[in-house]
Amino acid sequence: MMIKLFRSEYGRLVKSKIFWVSVIGCTGFGICLSLYMWWMNSCFSYVSPADENVFIFSTFGGILSAVFTSLFVGKLYSDGTMRNQIIMGHSRIKIYLCEYLVSLLANVMFFVFYVIGNISVAYPLHKYFGNTPKEMLMKSLLTIAIIAVYTAIFVFIAMLNRNKAVVAIICLLSAFGLLFYSMIIESALRQPKIYEDEYYYDTEKDAIVKEEAFPNPNYVDGKKREVYEFLNDFLPAGQSFQVGGNYDEPTVNDIFFLYDSCIVLITTLGGVIVYKRKDLK
């Protein structure tokens, strides 16, 4: 029965205008970003690797997922076609899971088309990759895992609320909320523990003055730092900054996949339980 549901929803996806607009948009954005980076490089006589911007998708992918998932799933409520699925005997569990899988497929395709657009322009211009094949694979899988988390959260919101406009607003606010919250956490974690010795020219004394190193009052340590580090690794937006950030030190951790699996499992299970009992009109 689920394959019938999946086939029909996949057919709906292929006919969806918002899907194709997103695909074209992602491809176009990938191309534009590559061209922009190449132009920036030429201004500063620097050649960055071709894959420098590939995993930036994981940062804005959440917002795109919020828009697409809320509108695509919300259409089932607004057009009333969810009733057809239930009336003809499809179980609510399968309907929920099918919506999750089709939305996930769509969001992953946005990533794929972004990468195709980005690399197809970047590689001929930059001619080398910064990540090893293994690193590329790990980061790609993690990006897909982050997409899976966002999709699970937004399908949860969309399947439990029949007002399409309200769903779109909540999903967008959630996406931006997660992003900004993770930005704050990441910024706090990146604060140095000690401000190093600094030398500056004092015009009044007409001499170079040394300012001694001093502890950073904004440095987060102790239990608070542990909590921040956990949240930075647990939340999808925090993971997206780490995977797309191009930092020198390795940032992708296997435990991210465990966290992502937990979030997907909890939101999907919770969504199915609530949806199963929901009175539909």
Binding site: I87, M88, L280
Partner: protein, 304 residues
Amino acid sequence: MDYVLTSDRLCKNYRSFKALDNFSVHIPKGSIYGLVGRNGAGKTTFIRLICGLQRPSSGNYSLYGVNSNSSKIEKQRSRMGAVVETPSLFLDMTAKDNLIHQYKLLGKPDNDGIDELLKLVGLENTGKKKAKNFSLGMKQRLGIAVALAGNPDFIVLDEPINGLDPQGIVEVRELLLKLNQEMGITILISSHILDELSRLATNYGFVDRGHIVKEISAEELENACKKYISVKAENLNALLRYLDNNNLPYTVISDEEAQIYGKLDINDCVISLHNQGFKFLSISEHEESLESYFINLVGGKYDD
């Protein structure tokens, strides 16, 4: 008698409001069952329950003999089609695309029969026109086509003629009669437009305040609503002899009142009985419409 759907003391509460209160109904196979009731009586709530959109608070129903609490109920539901309130259509798709989508949901391997289905509901010439540009009547007919895509033998229609113009009402009526009479499909149709329902239904269920007040066949209803002349007199004997002599059917209501059915020649009756010293107290003509029958059954205004 074979029943497609029965319900046994079905109840549905929305917080403190009782939408269905011991709702028990019996829908015979092959019938057009008209569910009659005012706005807010519980018709749509009942339809939502049997379509699986909501769960009953208590009680149960049986579809093709399978209890609603059974895990097999979903399989039985695949034998029915429904249009609940508004037609469930993808408004950005054409009529054909809507049916193709429905076929995929049903797991049909190809699109055979779609053109015939569109022709059955009179939408074969809509071409590339999207459903959002359809008139209400066209949307209703497409909704019915979608409900028929799975070759159901039972379809449920919730107020299908609401908002339709006279032409649209006639088109839907003719379609439903065709589905029932030529294809043997059992139809449950809810409405508060009694006049239209009286042209369609073979069985009625009158709903008030969340429960079935009465179930009656169309034939029984016609007998109950027959035209008659009510005659009141001090002594009915002469009248009854006259009626017997003229083979006119009648019912004696009381010592002073009789109801006469059939074609009565009033002039002849009055003159004939006057010669026998018969004195009429009153003569009046009555015809009970479905509307007056319903109002008499459930009472006047709502007491909220």
